[in-house]
């Protein structure tokens, strides 16, 4: 651009201080909300497919179905924003509640028999999350292991531990406090939904308004620049791994509460949906780009698809194929609208 143009522009916008560039704001939101039209179309489809779709109780189902997934999407999005990757969140999602449940459940229902206080069990769940996150963070950030393959191996290990630990049993008969998160409701809406929405909101506000949140964008956007600006990049990135694993553990707790049991298979294959939701929701796999509200639309989209397919008369064997096709379409749309997210 030439100097003349630049001067011209300045003259044309004499009071830019007050008026944010409105187009820009719209554009930004537009970018985050690419999926909204898709969601609207899906909703219409849902209503056509089955009149039940728009009943409050079904919409609550949709929300509850996405709650645990949503927690892991928040977690993975935080990691993706800083330019990293964690597959083992699904392992934590299964293993952390398992260990907690195992320590508090009576022997008769496949616990260890120590029958710890359920609150202590909850602490164990969070502690396992924290420990796995710390381990991953240190090895990926400090020892510089490739995040994909390292967390893949961790995921295999954690899922394997989960399986081995129980040897094919289910821990059930869990105390109220332990399953509260997944089993109870407040004002007719499941606690898990409240907690997930709160997590999205807190993460969004944190990312938008907290200095460390902004630092995460800077780290994902330009690591060198972040370092030069005095951001403690390693500390932030390891911290993000830790927080993310704890969030995944909480997500696992929700799921355990929902089914009032912990099974050996909890969490397996979860991560695919997590990546799909985050990425079609606009979180870039390259880091530094995307917002929580976008990731939330990703979760909503996937939950809606599942719900509508279940409500529809599509044979249950075709549901997976339709699911894959819809994710592809969402990717294609995102590409067309030009957010470069895919």
């Amino acid at each position: 651009m030439t100097v003349e143009q630049a001067v011209e522009r300045k003259a044309a916008s004499p009071a830019p201080a007050a008026s944010r560039d409105f187009r820009l704001v719209v554009l930004n939101w537009f970018r985050e909300l690419t999926l909204v039209p898709v969601i609207v179309v899906l909703m219409i489809a849902g209503a056509v497919v089955n009149p039940v779709f728009f009943t409050p109780s079904n919409l609550i189902n949709v929300a509850e179905g996405g709650a645990a997934l949503g927690m892991v999407v928040v977690a993975e999005s935080l990691i993706l924003l800083t330019g990293k990757f964690d597959i083992s969140l699904q392992g934590t999602f299964g293993l952390a509640p398992l260990l907690g449940a195992w320590l508090i459940a009576p022997k008769a229902s496949e616990g260890l028999g120590t029958e710890w206080n359920p609150w202590l069990g909850l602490v164990v769940v969070l502690a396992v999350g924290l420990a796995v996150g710390t381990f991953n963070g240190l090895l990926v950030i400090k020892a510089n292991f490739n995040a994909f393959i390292f967390t893949l191996a961790m995921s295999i290990l954690l899922t394997g531990l989960q399986l081995g630990w129980l040897g094919g049993q289910t821990v059930y008969n869990l105390p109220e406090a332990f399953i509260y998160l997944g089993a109870e409701s407040w004002f007719g809406i499941p606690v898990s939904v409240w907690v997930t929405i709160a997590s999205f909101a807190v993460a969004a506000l944190f990312l938008r308004y907290h200095r460390i949140g902004r630092a995460m964008y800077a780290i994902g956007g330009n690591l060198e620049a972040a370092r030069a600006a005095g951001i403690q990049v390693d500390r932030v990135r390891i911290g993000v791994f830790m927080v993310a694993s704890v969030l995944a553990a909480v997500g696992g707790l929700m799921q355990a509460g929902r089914v009032t049991a912990v099974t050996a298979g909890q969490g397996s294959n979860l991560i695919f949906g997590v990546f799909a939701a985050a990425v079609i929701g606009g979180i870039s796999l390259e880091g530094g780009r995307g917002r929580m509200v976008g990731a939330l639309t990703g979760v909503i989209l996937l939950s809606l698809v599942t719900n509508i397919l279940t409500l529809s008369n599509i044979s249950s064997t075709w549901i997976d194929a339709v699911d894959g096709a819809i994710i592809l379409i969402a990717l294609g749309l995102a590409k067309l609208i030009g957010t470069e997210r895919a």
């Binding site: 460390i212 330009n222 030069a228 403690q232 530094g288």
Partner: protein, 504 residues
């Protein structure tokens, strides 16, 4: 912002930044050797030197991004803060780095105040204040930039403005500008200089790095020259002539370098036009090109000379088909050999051997009909180029990553020549090679030219121009001056390249 507005004259004798006998090596590369340099409050201190002389390395030491191997850095008269204490560094020294330190997904306002609290809270961002202050800063310094724009949408110049604004706003008394004007328009440069002067009057010390020597005379008081990591000249700008400065930068000049560049005069024996550009327009972050017409005939070597950002390199990339043209046409006859500007980005596959890299352009030629690569033919070609260009490698299959920089560059040139092109586009082909090897490279290019290759040589190194048969000078995207008969006069050439009024 605080502190910048005080305009009291500087009387503080303590330097705002000081390097005391610092040395720094990267592996076997001695980037800095026993360098001492200080920047006083209220002065603008120029640091010049050729590519790779060690300027940016010194900047990294001053800003705490690197630690000297020996020697010490002092800021504001005190020993440098601990390396981990970035906050302390940032409070004492602000810098516009040569490498872009803009975070693309963030807005201009945020980039300006990256990791710095605005408002009352240290932990939370007050967006309104942030935007307002960024906007105010932009107004104050006369930048016209919407602070809400995402940095990824900015042009190179605008990104530079962001970095300058960031540095200006820290309130540090020591400001480093590492080639801030490389991508700026003349008017923008003037505005920047106004600001630097005002800062200086406010008592800020500036370390100013630029390859545009005339700028140094315009705003700097002292100048230091680095050559191969050593400080070879330091003095008051008014005491050092431009000629002396250049001599210090390039070292003791070989005799013929004095004022004229000997070059082949060649008008006869030229073949047909092998490369033709018509009304070429290219928009590029690294320098746009406007309405360029150019024809290169077989056996001719056209030199395209210009500063970084002038668009000369973009022309080369466009001919090689690596950037999209906006309009106009490029017609080339036969195979195009190409030496890219940045060898790391486009020059070679680092893990592969010398032989492989040399033959990447001729894979089809060295393989059988079935596509089996003939190791013998590959070795022959590789050996030929290794000998012709004096490539020093332990073996033909040594990974190019482990060659010295100069030898890497030779491999890149060798790759282009190995293709036996009818058009050769070379951008800064001799960057980073030693004097003897440079001769070999240039001889090889001249030899190609004499074999009937149409050569387009894009360079800002005047030494390269001796193989050219005519020169075109580009300034800000347009050809401004033509030199049709050698020898080339250095002073006039510099004048034309730097677009000084005295020139031509």
């Amino acid at each position: 912002m605080s502190g910048l507005t005080s305009t009291g004259p500087a009387t503080n004798p303590v330097p705002v930044g000081e390097a005391q006998n610092v040395s720094k090596s990267f592996g076997e590369t001695k980037a800095l050797v026993d360098v001492s340099l200080d920047v006083k409050a209220g002065e603008c201190h120029a640091l010049v030197g050729r590519n790779g002389a060690g300027k940016s390395t010194l900047v990294a030491l001053f800003t705490g991004l690197n630690r000297p191997d020996t020697g010490a850095i002092r800021l504001a008269g005190e020993p440098a803060p601990a390396p981990a204490d970035r906050g302390a560094w940032l409070a004492r020294v602000a810098c516009v780095y040569q490498r872009s330190m803009v975070v693309p997904p963030l807005t201009v306002a945020e980039n300006v105040f990256l990791n710095r609290p605005v408002g009352d809270s240290r932990s939370f961002v007050n967006w309104r204040r942030l935007r307002a202050e960024a906007h105010e800063l932009m107004l104050e310094w006369g930048f016209d930039l919407d602070v809400d724009r995402e940095a990824s949408t900015l042009t190179v110049e605008q990104r530079q403005i962001v970095e300058i604004a960031r540095a200006l706003s820290t309130g540090a008394r020591f400001l480093i500008l590492d080639e801030p004007t490389a991508a700026l328009e003349k008017a923008a440069v003037d505005r920047l200089f106004d600001r630097v002067r005002r800062l200086r009057e406010g008592g800020v010390g500036v370390l100013y790095i630029s390859h545009h020597l005339e700028e140094i005379y315009e705003i700097c008081q002292r100048v230091s020259v680095l050559r191969d990591g050593e400080l070879v000249l330091a003095g008051s700008v008014s005491d050092v002539s431009q000629g002396a400065l250049i001599a210090a930068m390039v070292g003791s000049a070989p005799p013929r370098r004095a004022t004229e560049i000997e070059a082949t005069r060649k008008t006869a024996g030229l073949g047909d036009v092998a490369l033709e550009l018509k009304q070429l327009n290219v928009v590029s972050r690294t320098g746009s090109v406007y309405d360029l017409d150019l024809a290169v005939r077989a056996g001719e070597c056209v030199g395209l000379v210009g500063l970084q950002g002038s668009g000369s390199a973009t022309v080369g990339d466009a001919v090689a088909g690596l950037v999209k043209t906006r309009s106009g046409s490029i017609t080339a006859r036969g195979v195009i050999g190409y030496v890219p500007q940045d060898r790391h980005q486009r020059g070679f596959a680092p893990q592969l051997g010398v032989d492989e890299n040399l033959t990447h352009g001729v894979l089809a030629r060295i393989s059988s009909r079935l596509g089996i690569v003939s190791v013998r033919r590959r070795t022959d070609i590789a050996r030929r180029e290794v000998q012709r260009l004096h490539i020093v490698a332990r073996s033909l299959d040594q990974p190019v990553a482990s060659l010295s920089g100069g030898n890497q560059q030779k491999v890149v040139v060798g790759r282009a020549l190995a293709a036996e092109p009818s058009v050769l586009v070379a951008i800064n082909p001799t960057v980073g090679v030693d004097v003897a090897s440079k001769e070999a490279l240039l001889d090889a290019i001249a030899e190609a030219r004499d074999r009937g290759v149409a050569v387009l040589l894009v360079s800002d190194d005047f030494e390269d121009l001796r193989v050219c048969t005519r020169l075109l000078v580009m300034v800000r995207g347009r050809v401004t001056t033509r030199f049709d008969r050698p020898p080339w006069d250095r002073q006039r050439l510099i004048g034309a390249v730097e677009a000084l009024e005295v020139a031509v």
